[in-house]
């Protein structure tokens, strides 16, 4: 086992190793440089189906986006849209077929930034709070594991684990020696968050991290995530199917559909006036909380399609209310539709040939 020290020197004081100066000493490119840039990310899974022709699941099929320093980027979409695969690709838990990851300006997986060094700065919280904790380890040992394998001496690693437990609202005296099955779902998810923070990451991926929790517990954990973000200067990528939660926590939102980005932009804009018809349908599908103004019709019929054989042209065109002949033949690029707001819809792009498209003059 190699002994690599953490980028911050471990300190015996409880609060010390957790506190961070407003400017992260690990920051390289300054605030304007995205923390993580993803371009051309592709992952296809081969599927064997009897004797038929070889098929591939186009789980992630050319995804580009950036995560800015200090922001929360929400990723939303139906099942099969590729959001969870994207998370695993970003963490290197599955290997990408192609595409580039740049972390603070450095290519991930190269000599300048090997996976190991990258992962110390990027951590993940999983959806299933029970499956993501080792059932045979105390929560304290689970949290201390990361620092230990990164060269923090045992005692200090345990001290850090206890400090983090306290920070996520679990009194170390009562909780440190417990096993995962002795905790409630909300408590376990707090432990998972503490574990993710134990390596002092700069970016945390939250993959449906609050989806399995009861509403009142969900709100507690969301508040905790906000506090931790401010305290440690974190950047979040927040994957969820719940648009209300995403709207609450995210600065920007990315909407995915069948392995591609449909729309990305400030969450106030995307979740109020979405440019992409799919984002609009998704937003419309959220249950109303007004008994006098219930949803009258579902904008999308049927289930999300299978990413094995996506439709030609715009992948959304068979379900789209704005569909025009041009949509089945031309793949829409992800183009600007407003300030910091991009959408992959021909109906929004001047000169695309779509009847609803704004005229070229108006755009110019």
């Amino acid at each position: 086992m190699s002994v690599t020290t953490l980028s911050l020197p471990p300190s015996p004081a409880l609060a010390q190793p957790l506190a961070r100066a407003p400017v992260d000493p690990r920051d390289r490119g300054g605030p304007a440089q995205p923390l993580l840039s993803v371009s051309g990310l592709v992952k296809h899974f081969p599927v064997r189906k009897g004797s038929g022709p070889k098929q591939v699941v186009r789980a992630v099929d050319g995804v580009d986006f950036e995560t800015l320093k200090g922001e929360t980027l929400g990723i939303v979409g139906e099942s099969g849209c590729g959001k969870s695969t994207t998370a695993k690709l970003l963490m290197g838990l599955i290997e990408r077929d192609s595409g580039d990851l740049l972390f603070d300006g450095e290519a991930v997986g190269t000599r300048a930034l090997p996976w190991r060094a990258y992962r110390r700065q990027v951590q993940m919280v999983f959806q299933d709070s029970y499956a993501s904790l080792n059932p045979r380890m105390t929560v304290e040992a689970s949290i201390a594991f990361g620092p230990k394998v990164n060269g923090v001496p045992g005692r200090q690693a345990v001290e850090r684990a206890r400090a983090l437990l306290a920070r996520v609202g679990l009194e170390p005296k009562r909780f440190a020696a417990r096993y995962p099955h002795e905790l409630s779902g909300g408590q376990r998810q707090r432990v998972n968050i503490a574990r993710a923070l134990a390596l002092e990451p700069r970016l945390v991926l939250l993959d449906e991290a609050v989806s399995a929790l009861d509403k009142s517990v969900e709100a507690q954990v969301l508040n905790l995530l906000l506090d931790l973000k401010a305290e440690f200067g974190l950047t979040y990528i927040f994957i969820s199917h719940d648009l209300n939660v995403v709207r609450f926590i995210s600065d920007r939102v990315m909407v995915m559909y069948l392995g591609r980005v449909a729309e990305i932009g400030p969450s106030d804009t995307v979740l109020a006036e979405p440019a992409h018809p799919y984002a609009h349908a998704l937003l419309h599908a959220m249950p109303s909380l007004d008994p006098d103004n219930r949803t009258q019709e579902a904008l999308l019929a049927g289930d999300p399609p299978n990413p094995i054989d996506p439709p030609s042209g715009c992948r959304f065109h068979p379900r789209c209310r704005l569909v025009a002949p041009v949509c089945s033949g031309k793949e829409p690029p992800l183009d600007a539709v407003g300030p910091a707001h991009r959408a992959a819809c021909l109906a929004r792009q001047p000169g695309s040939g779509h009847p609803d498209a704004p005229s070229v003059q108006a755009a110019a």
Binding site: A131, S132, P135, S142, A166, G169, Y179, S184
Partner: protein, 309 residues
Amino acid sequence: MTAPVTAASVALDGAVPTAAPVAEAEVFVPSRGFWGHVGHRLMRDPVAMAAGAVILAIVLVAIFAPWITPMDPYKGSMLRRLKPVGDATYWLGSDELGRDMISRLMVGARLSLFMGVTPVLIAFAIGSSIGILAGYVGGWTNTILMRTIDVFFAFPSVLLAIALSGALGAGIFNAIVSLTCVFVPQIARVAESVTTGIRRRDYIDAAKLSGASAFTIMRVQVLGNVVGPIFVYSTSLISVSMILASGLSFLGLGVRPPEPEWGLMLNTLRTAIYVNPMVAALPGLAIFIVSISFNLFSDGLRTAMEIRQ
């Protein structure tokens, strides 16, 4: 619906501290840990406890045999051959050379237990390592290791043990080597299957994300979760090992006379089976009792480990 966030919360925040720590009301039972729970449940299983007591008694007898045997197990008497069970001098009778059966059984327990436990222990260490490695790494490593292991399954274990022992030559050491070779594939296969079952769990992914090496993950994260089932399976092999070892001795491939060992005793006494069947059956009975005790104990252990969480 609108919900207030700041000003309105003043009225509430006095009574509702929203910040951590969260006092989650519950009564906490101090943690026993996994093995604590297993031990607790095992204690309440009368069959497993009885089997455990039998094993413990026999182990104690084996350890202290040289000091507690009523007679010299090696000293025979041509005049007092094949005394029946219940004889005034020889409580469990005497063998074909007039040696005291009870003393020979007590001393024989040492070698018999040794031959039962040692190959399983060695095979447990080797087999788990191979199985965990194959299961965790997966892919080609798994294919190569497990297909090689499968070759051994082509032969019945008795045949394999005899063939290996025969090839290596007689003797205790060679018998242990050949028995170990018989058990390694079986344990490796179990270890591989339980490891494959957990390698895709999120907590293994989380450990990978912490930058731990594959070896560290196997040692710290995987081992604790798979060692239980492998151990249970291995304890069930102890009885098989004892029987196989007895078989080897019976065929003259294991322990050699005049060393007392249950299998060997069974072999030499078979000539007396028509003269004094009770005495001739005693070593077999001893093997039976010990092996069924190990089996019952490992059954109990398996049940105790099935804790729903």
